[in-house]
Subunit: 135 residues, 2 copies
């Protein structure tokens, strides 16, 4: 989908505990650093829909498993992917796409490396039922 | 300790899963974005010592509990702190300080928001026994 990039990330084995890459400033999809935050999502719960006007999202799932669904209202197109340590990729989402995500594992957390600081006026939010998708 | 900053971070309650702040570019301790990566550490294991010549570390513990020990070889001074969701703070470490960390919980993970990209020539590493500290 236009405006969506999936980038496989390295996991580096260490007997004391592995290292998981998230993002370098030289990476594809990096569009400046504004803010980093974690969001957790309970199993079976869904957060969304939200559409950012300016923010580029770079999403990584360090533990658990999260299903992301992206909807482009200009083409009526959906894209979905499940991310976890087993499918360890960075999901870059450019502005003007709707996004929602569901907790799949028992405990689930994402990191968003956002290109700008959070600003409530920069994003539109609508109810889950406002975009019909078979979760 | 000079060169070390602890900054309390917000946790925002959400019935579907809480949000945990990590860092904004306008925050104290932010010194540019170079790379973000996760490091896990097994219970009872210790990674260290490492001293960066240029990198500023910004460390957050999104799950588990990690004990950080910082040693300033110019003053012979130690600093230690345990971070977790219960003591949810960001630990900023300026260059030229030795750092080691121990896994305290069952599963432990840190996020480092580093000011420059990883470069093996930019950091010195020594064995754990090379700095005497009673873990």
């Amino acid at each position: 989908m236009d405006g969506v990039i999936l980038t496989p990330l390295k996991q580096i084995y260490n007997p004391k505990g592995n290292v998981f890459h998230a993002m370098k400033k030289s990476d594809i999809g990096f569009d400046g650093f504004g803010e980093a935050y974690f969001s957790t999502i309970n199993k079976g719960d869904i957060k969304g829909w939200k559409k950012h006007k300016k923010m580029v999202l770079n999403l990584v799932v360090p533990f658990g498993e999260i299903k992301f669904v992206i909807y482009d209202d200009s083409t009526n197109e959906f894209f979905s992917v499940k991310l976890s340590q087993n499918n360890y990729q960075r999901l870059t989402i450019k502005p003007n796409l709707w996004m929602a995500f569901e907790g799949v594992g028992k405990n689930n957390m994402l990191l968003n490396l956002a290109s700008i600081e959070h600003n409530i006026n920069e994003a539109d939010s609508i109810k889950l039922d406002d975009i019909i998708y078979k979760w």
